[in-house]
């Protein structure tokens, strides 16, 4: 009896799906050398970017001829900076930036937000803030896995390494006498969330242009950049 073609179509589709997932896994899941792990990996520093001489992690691409938010832009960061971003389980977006032994983490769902600062010890991340929020995590295998507690609620997360324009953005400014702090997380799928705090009053932030971090707040053009954990946690 000849094969029935609808079944063939189903099987072909399933085979294609399995093949694609296998291809993805062979590329990404085995890629544990992506991050400085505690295991002495032969080499392969983070994202294998050669150490650049510009220590500033500013994503300013003002001179760039391609304003499109292509996901293959050159990472402006030095090799020692790793940016992770993703969703926490059942909640908002979380981005973690690690530089040297300093960590900055930002949880945001578009309405509520929390900034945390901390340190890395080996592969273990810990961060906290004055409000009592805490974050713990373990980095390795191209991601940070752990849990974060904000305002008494705990979420788990598994945030992968991301590249510009995905990642964490922060802007601080004095606008019309108000002290404004904005935070944004841009995920690899292009979604972004952000919260703006005017004199400690939070509200959803206008969207930034992921290509250059530009955002207009109260009529003033502000540029959001990836925060430097070393500077931000020093204070």
């Amino acid at each position: 009896m000849k094969l029935k073609s609808p079944i063939v179509v189903l099987v072909a589709g399933a085979a294609l799906a399995v093949g694609l997932i296998a291809a993805n896994m062979s590329v990404f899941d085995a890629d544990s050398a992506n991050v400085v792990a505690s295991v002495p990996v032969p080499s392969a520093p983070i994202t294998s970017t050669p150490p650049s001489s510009s220590p500033s992690a500013s994503p300013s691409t003002s001179g760039s001829a391609s304003p499109s938010a292509s996901s293959v832009q050159v990472t402006p960061s030095v090799a020692a900076v790793a940016t992770y971003a993703g969703k926490v389980t059942g909640g908002g977006s979380l981005s973690i930036v690690v530089k040297a032994t300093s960590v900055i983490a930002y949880l945001c769902d578009g309405t509520n937000e929390s900034w945390l600062g901390g340190t890395v010890d080996g592969s273990t991340l810990t961060a906290r803030n004055k409000a009592g929020d805490t974050l713990t995590g373990t980095r390795g295998g191209g991601k940070v896995v752990g849990s974060i507690t904000v305002d008494g609620t705990t979420w788990t997360y598994s945030t992968p390494l991301v590249k510009k324009p995905s990642g964490l953005y922060r802007a601080t400014a004095e606008i019309r006498g108000a002290s404004v702090v904005g935070g944004w997380i841009v995920l690899p799928d292009g979604t972004q969330v952000g919260v703006l705090r005017r004199d400690e009053v939070a509200e959803p932030a206008p969207a930034i242009d992921p290509a250059n971090g530009a955002v207009t707040i109260d009529g003033t053009l502000v540029t959001a950049t990836e925060p430097d954990p070393v500077q931000l946690t020093a204070g």
């Binding site: 000849k2 609808p6 990404f28 292509s70 996901s71 969703k87 995920l187």
Partner: protein, 210 residues
Amino acid sequence: MSHDALPPLPESPPNPAVPAGPPTASAAPSAPAVPTGSAALIAVLLSGSAVAVMIGVYGRLHSPTGVAINIAGFSGPQEVKAWLGTVAFALALVQLVSALAMYGKLPVRAPAWTGTVHRWSGRIAFLAAVPVAVHCLYALGFQAFDTRVLVHSLVGCLFFGAFTVKMLALSRPGLPGWLLPAFGGLVFTGLTLLWLTSSLWFFTTFGVRF
């Protein structure tokens, strides 16, 4: 080339005359008409449900990587997905029109090749949708952080389940006549919702780009 038969025309509407139904307590005269292929029907529906649940569970349990292999020629995986999804949706419109023609719901007489068009546009649409779904599941996962994303995640699981039911139903004789149009409609509705909540959203949010 193989020819699967045209979808059985609804010549036998869900049989009204139940000959000698089981003599169990028939409180109402409209006791559930047990179609002859009820076991087949249940098996087919269960298979589709299993596919939908499997996809959803995988999407929820597999921790999203955020990245996946890309296809050359596009600036990023989102662009690839948006366009593959658009191709699938355009073919789904072909599906709708050719199905209506086959069922005699259009004022024009369906040409003989309508069935071939229906089959091949469906196959291509399905194969275009699979890489999109793989990227969704592998890189992004089942998410619920806003309405668009939740609807997209749910309908994505539903779509492949409904498609499985429809494909299995095509190859099983003796199923009720409403099954194919119902699930064909469900597949079309699902794909439309998927397109609206992803490709259209992407194009209106980021602009039409490759």
